[in-house]
Amino acid sequence: MVPLKSKYRVAIIGGGVQGLSLAYNLAKLGERDVVVFEKGYIGSGASTRNGGLIRTAWFSQEVCTLMNESVQVWEHLSEELAFNVMYTQRGSFIVAGTEPQMEFCKEMVDLHTSWGIHTRLLDSGEAMKLIPCFNEREVRGGIYDKKGGIARHDAVVWAYARAASHLGVAIFPQTEVQAIHLEDGHVRSVKIPQGEVQADTVVNAAGGHSKHVAQMVGVELPTRPVRWEAMVTEPIKPYLNPYVRWPKGELYVSQTSRGEIVAGVDSHEASSMDLRCSLEFIKRVSAALSSIFPSLGRLALLRQWAGLISISDDGCPILGSIPKVDGFILDCGWYIGFATAPIAGRMLARNILESKMPKLIEPFRYSRFAEGRQISEDSNSEKMTHLARLDAH
């Protein structure tokens, strides 16, 4: 391990996929005086607790465009980082179960097309051909996103950490940042158990803990941490190829390259830092899974876990600088953070080195909340809920 220095140009708080992607991209662009402080082991937060899902079909142009650009990085990521991240572009599918849902999906596909996102509306026959294990009664059709896919979340974290280390980035796991010190409105140093470490730029990439880290410089982020649970079954032979989103059951599910079925359902909890697993969750997922894929009922659940995501007031990430605290950069508010980490790290690295927001991430600036330029409130998770409720018609 490299020795700890007393001063760095950039200190990143959080050794998850976002912080490590940023560290790697900074070094790649020539800024190698970078340190990453991680409270636990690398990737110990949401980065290795998520479903590993990647897609381009979402509900606002800003997010779709970011995801689409990210997919282009994903397609060559193993090569770029010289580490197999087990990325497979197996497509993703959003199920529509009723006529009103089909109409909504058609509108979404038209929107996607106008944004340059290549999704397609499938009818029930095409959907059943794509995913023969579906319960036919629940499937009228849906949105197929052939650019969707999955990657192995742990491998992605290690790949970025390794590539960043090779370029000279210092990574310190099991090292918690306890305070951030300011001088004349500019960040000066961070306090870790070993002492004070100076930095010109401090990045908050602390995931579920990012609200707490922002409070260290007196900033109240418009985000809340939320517990998000997941579960995995025993491995089986190839069964489900695309990643499936079933709004009626609030379910998302994929089969990993190892053969396990990984699934989750949306969380409706208020703000929480609780990492315990719940029985309620596995009952909900099991009910949803065995409704949409009846043949999975006999499969055994092996393990469940929980992680924290950070949801902002408009459901979108918050990136870049903030007024009043010079040198403090946000990389927060992620709940689409895994899929977009490859592009977000690249864009934020440019933001830090060029002091100019790249156009792609400009909509996600912190000041949007003060300017009243939030990404349309009902554009993301709300639309998914809307899609599910169309079922009642």
Partner: protein, 93 residues
């Protein structure tokens, strides 16, 4: 054929596999679990965890009780989805 010393029966991992992983920087049991798959098969560590602790304590020349173990996750034993989906009484699960 070289004899194998199998540490994890579910994931078919030998002592050598785990030693390689530790030498590659995955010596923290949380990382070793994710890198090799040890403790993630149907036994969820019930057979292999003590073997792994023993191996790590030998490699790190430290007492077994000083090796921190990964978080234990429910359920206690593999449980069929249909049972959970059917809203079975909690004590049966």
């Amino acid at each position: 054929m070289k004899p194998k010393k199998v540490v994890c029966l579910c994931e078919d991992l030998t002592k050598e596999d785990l030693e390689d992983a530790v030498e590659n920087g995955f010596g923290d049991l949380e990382l070793l679990k994710r890198f090799t798959g040890v403790c993630t098969g149907p036994c969820q560590g019930k057979f292999c965890l003590t073997n792994v602790i023993q191996l790590l304590s030998e490699m790190k020349s430290t007492r077994p009780e000083l090796i921190s173990i990964p978080a234990l996750r429910p359920p206690f034993r593999p449980t069929r989805l249909a049972l959970l989906a059917g809203g079975a009484a909690e004590e049966q699960i």
